[in-house]
């Protein structure tokens, strides 16, 4: 097997990290609710927060969801803050009203926000109390999606971590895949592993609470997303063991991720090749087509989705791009270490943000493509820079072989578009 050998010295794992503090231009962890509530079909996410939280959720959704969504905000009002009303009583009342309206709900997440944390509203206690009130029909959990504790995709991590303590115990040897991916992608992963004879395979989060995976000392798990550090730690505390690998983006990432699991389960090389050969070839071909516009182009990652390091690995190694700066909100080497190992030293690795100073670096470097949040994309385009919004990377199926070409396409489309448009007056 042609495992790519990590560059022996001078990879990004040991590169110095530029740590910055200043204005951060990122979403808070509440944003994760937008995809989590679609993934978990009997769950409701109740943010305990302010009007700002509610406004964020509907604005970040970009297009609003037309049906009544399975999330809402219990907006704190003056009387809650002034102690004129008992916030816990108010919360109990709102939850009771909500659950009577939605009898299909089996899991309720109380999601903490900046205001609820600053006033130290104890949502863990509330969740315990509400679980007792509404058991056995509804289980109430809590996590924080606040902007003072979490950034963007960290909200999913906090949510999944909150589910770990209540997972049933099992002694079965099982593989658990961790992360909320679109169903089509999840199915592909499960299918590839099943064809290798690996199983049983369970997924966290399960689409319905009754299907929640068990966990125990014989569980091994692999993360599907590079932002699930707290969940991984919680799973480890319950005796499960993590399989480390680069993340399954692109042909190479997918192969390495699958191989790590295959090795854990003692899959022989012939079987591995038989299962992966055809999709690998398809992925290589698709990436080659889609990445034509990317070869030799430079790329700058503003910190946003936490996918930056694995994507930089994909874009530099499989699409021929050159990374100038790879910024991530925070860097957890226990998760992204294997990806860092594969990126040759050179690009600046930065953690945290001081957005104005970082924009100065973008303007100085004038990269061919800048990955950034929605607030920055159009202003940079107006300065003549080509951008790709990071949020699309978490809203689009991009993992595994069959999506490798689409993933490259997400980055090449803005570049192709710029070359296609001819908007100046004819001379």
């Amino acid at each position: 097997m042609n495992t790519p050998t990590p560059v022996p010295s001078g990879t990004c794992r040991d590169a110095p990290i530029l740590k910055e503090r200043g204005q951060r231009e990122v979403f808070c962890g509440l944003t994760g609710i937008i995809w989590l509530h679609r993934k978990m079909q009997d769950a409701f996410f109740l943010v305990v927060g302010s009007r700002t939280c509610a406004h964020l959720l509907q604005s970040a959704a970009g297009v609003m969801i037309f049906a009544e969504p399975r999330f809402g905000t219990a907006i704190l009002e003056e009387t809650d803050l002034a102690g004129m009303a008992d916030a816990h009583e108010e919360l109990d009342r709102e939850v009771a009203r909500l659950l009577s309206r939605r009898p299909d709900i089996k899991q309720l997440f109380l999601v903490g926000s900046c205001p609820s944390e600053v006033i130290k509203l104890d949502l863990a206690r509330a969740a315990e109390r509400l679980t007792q009130i509404h058991a056995p029909h509804v289980r109430v959990l809590n996590y924080s999606g606040s902007g003072i504790e979490t950034t963007f995709t960290q909200g999913e991590d906090a949510c999944l971590a909150s589910m770990v303590p209540v997972l049933p115990t099992t002694d079965q040897r099982e593989l658990m895949l961790v992360g909320a991916l679109p169903d089509v992608v999840e199915d592909q992963a499960v299918s590839l592993l099943t064809q290798m004879g690996i199983g049983p395979i369970r997924v966290l989060p399960a689409p319905r609470s009754a299907e929640a995976p068990g966990i125990g000392p014989n569980t091994v798990f692999a993360c599907l997303q590079p932002f699930l550090g707290d969940t991984a730690a919680a799973l480890t505390r319950r005796g499960a063991r993590m399989i480390q690998a680069p993340f399954p983006f692109g042909e190479e990432g997918t192969t390495l991720w699958l191989r790590a699991i295959a090795e854990e389960f003692g899959v022989d090389e012939d079987t591995f090749d038989r299962v992966t050969a055809a999709p690998r070839a398809r992925a290589r071909k698709a990436v080659a087509n889609a990445s034509e516009a990317l070869r030799g182009k430079s790329i700058f990652f503003m910190p946003d989705s936490q996918l930056e390091i694995p994507l930089a690995r994909f874009l530099t190694r499989e699409c021929g791009m050159e990374a100038i700066e790879i910024g991530q909100p925070y860097i957890h080497k226990g998760l992204v270490g294997p990806d860092l190992d594969l990126i040759p030293a050179g690009p600046t690795i930065s953690e945290g943000q001081d957005v104005d100073r970082q924009l100065d670096r973008v303007r100085a470097a004038r990269p061919d493509l800048t990955i950034c949040g929605l607030g920055l994309a159009n202003p940079l385009e107006a300065e003549g820079l080509t951008t790709k919004w990071a949020i699309e990377l978490v809203f689009t199926p991009v993992h595994f072989y069959e999506q490798a070409g689409d993933l490259a396409g997400l980055f090449s489309r803005p570049i192709r578009r710029r070359s296609l448009l001819n908007l100046e007056a004819a001379e």
């Binding site: 808070c28 109740l46 302010s50 009007r51 905000t73 919360l91 709102e94 944390e117 003072i148 202003p379």
Partner: protein, 527 residues
């Protein structure tokens, strides 16, 4: 604590951002945690602005809370001044920073920043976005506008247009045109494109034109009190209102009410025979009070619609809306609860909704056509083309916009005549909408499949299979023939037909609706 699914207004600091983003040379230093920076995308994505909003956030984190968040604010304020060198700074707190009580205004005052620093007190847990914009603009005007000599010729200021406003960019041009025709000069337009230096010159005008009371009334009152400038009360949306506006401005400024009506087409478009089909269309109006009040007059007097319901989400302006509703013989819906609005619309079963972005969703869910008349609006309501709501061209635009979602004149008849044609059927929607036809859902649309509550004409999705089937005296059963006939009625009147039939049946004490009941009800309600 109040459970909210969707909100009509953001928090008040977003209102302040709308003022800051509309202006030039002003910077907003906002004490806020990192997630609050989402608000930038409202301007860069939804409104497609090509600059970042002039806002610097402190983005404090949890670990800063026990330490020196005040120090972070001061450092951020200094850095923002040094980097952007604005003519003036506004400072304030978002909801979270309000709780930690660092007093950004007081802190900034101690810093010797060499330009005016205007503190904002925007109570996040009591007030909302429109309060934030109105209060911010007022504070800026209060801090900067000073008495001065009036211009020799008659001039006015135009107050109210903001960033992220519904058609504000184009309304400004229409209002300028109306004033130009009367020979009235423009002193300052604000906040849109104004600098703090421009605000200091407000006093040179003879009067103020208030385009949007939601955003500028407090400032206009202040200017009336301190500088003696009268301000206009008429909002020139619609033909009649624009005539009234011209008369009001002419009277205030002592000039002739001259008008150039050469581009006004709306009255003829409305009178022409093709528009006959608009007669008595039942419409439901919801939005901010100013736009709803204007739209109600247009709907009744200039389109020949029947207004069957109206309401607004901004309680601050509920009083004039209540007065208007009385004239229409309606009970106004004053609420910012989206689900309540949806229920009211479902109950009224209108043929068209004139609302906000939210009502567009309601319309989609209920299968009722919808045109947008008010903020909040989404990216598709910031068109590239010139598309005002105010003035003569605004009246033309509104005519086109409102009839666009409807099935047009003869097509409506053809649908009724050949309703079982497999290609030309009502569920395909208006033919000019191509593939994007609104697909009626089982709400206002198709006939009921099962016994249903008449009390709850609720459009609830089946949420649980476990719930007991409704029984009792308030259950109305549609017999198969009647149900089949109801399905033949074009979707845009089916909701009304169903509602009328059920009401008729209930009045008659019937629990089953037969084909005869359906036609008896039709005769009963015939007009």
């Amino acid at each position: 604590m109040k459970l909210t699914v969707w909100t009509y207004e953001g928090p008040p600091h977003v209102g302040a951002m709308r003022v800051a983003t509309a202006m030039r040379g002003l910077h907003y230093v906002l004490h806020a945690p990192q997630g609050d920076t989402y608000a930038d995308l409202l301007f860069t994505m939804i409104e497609r602005r090509d600059h970042r909003p002039p806002v610097t956030y402190t983005t404090f984190e949890g670990r800063d809370l026990g330490e020196d968040t005040a120090g972070i604010f001061k450092q951020t304020c200094q850095d923002a001044y040094d980097r952007f060198k604005p003519q003036a700074i506004i400072v304030g707190a978002s909801c979270t920073a309000e709780l930690i009580q660092d007093d950004p205004g007081g802190l900034a005052e101690t810093m010797n920043i060499p330009v005016p620093v205007i503190p904002l007190e925007l109570p996040s847990y009591q007030r909302k976005e429109n309060f934030g914009s109105d209060e911010t603009f007022y504070q800026i005007v209060r801090a900067l506008a000073r008495p001065m000599d009036r211009t020799p010729a008659a001039t006015v200021n135009i107050l109210g247009p903001l960033a992220l406003g519904f058609r504000h960019r184009d309304d400004i041009e229409e209002v300028k045109g109306l004033l130009y025709e009367m020979g009235i000069g423009i002193n300052v337009v604000a906040p849109f494109d104004a600098t703090p230096e421009d605000i200091t010159r407000l006093g040179a005008a003879h009067a103020n034109v208030v385009m949007y009371p939601e955003h500028a009334e407090t400032a206009a009152r202040h200017l009336e009190k301190t500088l003696g400038q009268p301000y206009t009360k008429t909002i020139p949306i619609g033909v009649g209102a624009t005539h009234d506006f011209v008369a009001e401005v002419a009277q205030i400024c002592g000039v002739e009410p001259k008008k150039d009506l050469s581009r006004l087409r709306q009255p003829w478009w409305s009178r022409s025979v093709d528009s006959t089909y608009l007669t008595g269309k039942r419409v439901f109006l919801f939005g901010d009070a100013t736009h709803v009040i204007a739209a109600a007059r247009i709907a009744r007097d200039e389109m020949g619609f029947e207004v069957v319901g109206l309401g607004c989400y901004n309680r601050e302006f509920a009083r004039p809306l209540r007065a208007l509703a009385k004239q229409f013989g309606l009970t106004p819906l004053i609420t910012d609860d989206y689900l309540e609005v949806e229920q009211a619309i479902a109950d009224a079963a209108p043929e068209m909704i004139l609302g906000t972005q939210m009502e567009r969703h309601i319309g989609k869910r209920l299968g009722i056509p919808c045109a947008v008349i008010s903020a909040p609006v989404h990216v598709q309501d910031f068109p590239a083309r010139y598309s005002p709501q105010m003035g003569w061209e605004g009246a033309n635009v509104i005519f086109d916009t409102w009839i666009h979602p409807l099935v047009m004149g003869l097509e409506e008849h053809l649908l009724a005549m050949f309703r079982e044609d497999f290609e030309f059927h009502d569920e395909a929607g208006p033919s000019h909408h191509g593939g994007h036809a609104p697909k009626p859902s089982d709400a206002g649309g198709p006939a009921p499949q099962t016994p249903r509550h008449i009390s709850g004409t609720k459009m609830d999705e089946p949420r649980s299979d476990e719930g007991p089937a409704p029984t009792g005296a308030d259950v109305m059963v549609w017999l198969a023939d009647a149900e089949k006939e109801l399905k033949k009625i074009p979707f845009f009147v089916r909701g009304k037909a169903r509602r009328n039939t059920e009401k008729f049946a209930a009045d008659q004490g019937l629990q089953e609706i037969s084909l005869d009941t359906l036609y008896e009800a039709k005769a009963h309600f015939a007009r």
